[in-house]
Amino acid sequence: MTFWETITGSDMTREWNAFETRAAALPNDYRAAWEEIKTALMSYGDFTGRNLTPIFDSALGLLEESAADGQTIYQVVGDDVVGFSAALAGGEGARNYRDKWRAQLNANVAKKLNKLGG
């Protein structure tokens, strides 16, 4: 049995295999971040994996989109993967993180519109 089967129960293995297939297609630094995000989300402990599946899915989707977009992994998750993951799961500190995302959104818009104008 793999790690994920142990955690999630084998009925969910197919879903996890699909995640891992998708993750394998990511650039190296993104793949490393994916591993970190998995570990961080796991530390929530109290879950069967089932209710976290959509969160893993959206995290992976975010990584895929951003990679396709040519962003660096740092631009996506910042320097605090644990905090980032907590925010994804709505855990402690999620609010701060959302504030960070908010600020990032506005800063990116300002920067890129500026470049466009100049």
């Binding site: 699909a18 998708r22 109290d46 879950f47 209710n51 976290l52 959509p54 969160i55 899915d57 959206s58 992976l60 989707g61 975010l62 895929e64 989109e65 951003s66 977009d69 925010a87 994804l88 799961a89 709505g90 855990g91 999620a94 959302r98 995302w101 908010r102 600020a103 990032q104 959104l105 506005n106 990116n108 818009v109 890129k112 519109l113 466009l116």
Partner: protein, 106 residues
């Protein structure tokens, strides 16, 4: 269905992307930053729900009226987006709720 399946598989999504490419550059920039933010926040019905499609409707109206993108969203784009997301639960909300239920033995 995963986000990626939807993004790559659905005709609807491709049509959506084509519409974005037709927007002026300033609108495209703001659209992409919003999408990036929304993906992080993770509202549950992001790709099945009308949020992003309606956003493009709204943007197209702004373009037709000859306005710049910040004129219609306001300078605080994040506040604008949070207004859109206000009533939509996120994956994180659903997860937290499932934890609470478990704790109380529901």
């Amino acid at each position: 269905m995963g986000i990626r399946d939807i993004i790559e598989g659905k005709k609807q999504w491709r049509a959506h992307v084509a519409r974005i490419k037709n927007l002026p550059p300033d609108y495209q920039i703001v659209y992409h930053e919003i999408q990036r933010y929304v993906f992080k926040v993770g509202p549950v019905d992001l790709l099945d729900g009308p949020l992003l499609t309606e956003l493009v409707d709204f943007f197209e109206e702004g373009v037709a009226a000859g306005k710049g993108v910040l004129q219609i969203t306001g300078p605080d784009v994040a506040a604008f987006v949070d207004g859109l997301l206000q009533d939509i639960p996120t994956y994180a909300d659903v997860y937290q709720e499932s934890l609470t239920k478990k704790k109380h033995g529901l």
